[in-house]
Symmetry: C2
Subunit: 339 residues, 2 copies
């Protein structure tokens, strides 16, 4: 395993690449074996289940090839941590599969690894394994995240009950309008507002802190990645129920409120766009006050935005926007489709 010449900018071989850039991120977890074995070993507390999820990202589809490498790494980790958060799981570890375009520089890889390292530390989810390979195509990444949850205590998509109140964390629409800004749109907004939106799009904040609230109260939950209405639709689909939300109740940041005030057509984008990585959940309305108190206590405010109804008639929509009939056209929107 002789190292290749350490020419500046030249990528080392696979073993050295792992040792140099990724093994340091794994050193906090003994079961990762310093990434020197073919597998890693993870423990579960008694009575717990392993929660597993995977998300892939491709340059040109999910991000631009010249996006800052540390942000690419951090977003990849965060979208997976967000899935764990929606299941009220405690992060346990993650594995990274990385197909690197030929010509990837050491500087790029170092920045990528630094971003990954920072967020693995922030979310207490050690890197425990992975695979790196070359590709003739665009940078392609897949991250698998593992978490633990007390058996039977994870809120599923399928757990909603008729009469449940629908809650959402944080604010909605920042991700979708941030994507607009990234594409050069919303130029009439003040720079700080554009920065806010762009930041939310580029670097989601998975709501892991909401875990005790979800664990105690949520009947069903999902993170907002496809879009608020689409993701609530996923809950309705899995629970075989319907939902009605009030657009006026949907929490929006100052930037989103100002953008929508200038261009009301953006409201549909706010409700149906993706990439917010907030959590939508349903719970007994009788628990509303306790949910509000508990969510403020963990620093993740939530807002009641609607209710779960009984199964609809025939081919009717799963989710209805109660106070804005025109918006019901967005019910056909089921989030971003890759194909």
């Amino acid at each position: 395993m002789s190292a290749p010449a350490d020419t500046p900018g030249r990528l080392p071989g696979e073993f050295d690449l792992i040792a140099r850039y990724f093994a340091p991120i794994a050193k906090s977890h003994p079961g990762a074996l310093g990434l020197t074995d073919d597998a890693a070993f993870l423990d579960l507390p008694p009575g717990h289940q392993m929660v597993v999820t995977t998300d892939a990202m491709v340059a040109g589809v999910h991000f631009l090839a010249d996006d800052p490498p540390d942000l690419i790494a951090r977003k990849l980790l965060r979208v997976n941590v967000s899935d764990l958060a929606a299941k009220a799981a405690v992060p346990v570890g993650c594995l990274l599969a990385l197909a690197l375009p030929r010509g990837t520089t050491a500087a790029w890889l170092e920045a990528f690894a630094q971003g990954l390292s920072a967020d693995c530390a922030e979310f207490a989810i050690p890197l425990v394994g992975g695979d790196t390979t070359a590709t003739d195509g665009p940078l392609t990444l897949a991250l698998t995240a593992l978490g633990s949850v007390e058996a039977g205590h994870a809120p599923l998509r399928s757990g909603a009950k008729p009469g449940d109140r629908v809650f959402v964390s944080g604010t909605i629409g920042d991700g979708a309008l941030g994507l607009e800004v990234a594409k050069g749109g919303l130029g009439d907004l003040a720079a700080p507002l554009r920065e806010h939106l762009l930041g939310r799009y580029r670097l989601p904040e998975p709501k892991v802190a909401l875990r005790p609230v979800l664990r105690a109260f949520a009947h069903s939950a999902i993170d907002v990645s496809d879009g608020l209405l689409a993701d609530l639709g996923h809950i309705c689909e899995a629970s075989e129920l319907t939902a009605t939300v009030q657009a006026a109740m949907v929490p929006m940041s100052d930037a989103v409120q100002i953008a929508v005030a200038r261009d009301p057509d953006l409201l549909s984008r706010v409700l149906s766009g993706g990439d917010d990585y907030e959590i939508v959940f349903t719970a007994d309305p009788a628990d509303s006050d306790r949910i509000m108190d508990a969510s403020i206590k963990v620093g993740v405010p939530v807002t009641g935005i609607g209710f779960i109804g009984r199964k609809g008639e025939g081919a009717g929509p799963r989710v209805t926007v109660g106070d804005l009939a025109a918006l019901n056209t967005v019910l056909r929107v089921t989030g971003y489709r890759h194909f």
Copy 2:
């Protein structure tokens, strides 16, 4: 979630694609939730650890874009199952991240899913999650496999002891010479021999049946993916020891023996080439007879090919071929490098 028009050959949207092709593979495992949630739930028996591993494959690097799709799926699953097998783990589940080139046909995807389904059944490793996306580049796949092992009973790379005997399962070199055949080489071999080699290269047989033998006797183990000498070198590296193997003892199939008899230069390829997916392990030589008996009982014969020695002097090689001094040049070979 309205389905797009079902034009023959046209790829359905992501949700329909998952429902149509992948959900049926997941239905055997209740924790997969029919692939309708963002995460899956896996149980571990008390006193067990989760073993996790991931491998990525890229068209043009690991296989040809026009290889049969069912074989691509099966090889991807098998190389991961092989990693679990080397850790004496029982398969628990797997997750698949799939970046599909635009223009991928429904027929391709159906064949891919059929191959995956067949092997998930054969190796009792249900698909429990995944992610599909489009790519402008080559087909790129990453599979994460999870298994369970009694805590502390997995043979690691780092567990070899001085004086251990080195064993290998099955036969060595079929993978490397199969790759030669796939490239159009070894044309002077009889067709059935070429078929044998090609089959071993295209569709490895992970040695999951060896689990009780490894669990009972192995101090260290690794599967042969980078090549016999390179992978034994990984054990030596992690264990901070050396090894000597006898080329004459290395088990070879009829096809490999005939090929090497015709072209002795191929011997170095046999010992240093990859893709055999056999298992190399080390154990107390006093257990040799019991290891032979137990391995025959599970239908996976093993052969003693050498011994582990003490840590070498200075920069000496980790692995020495005792009976063929000329071959020691291959010690610089550390398996296929992607970069």
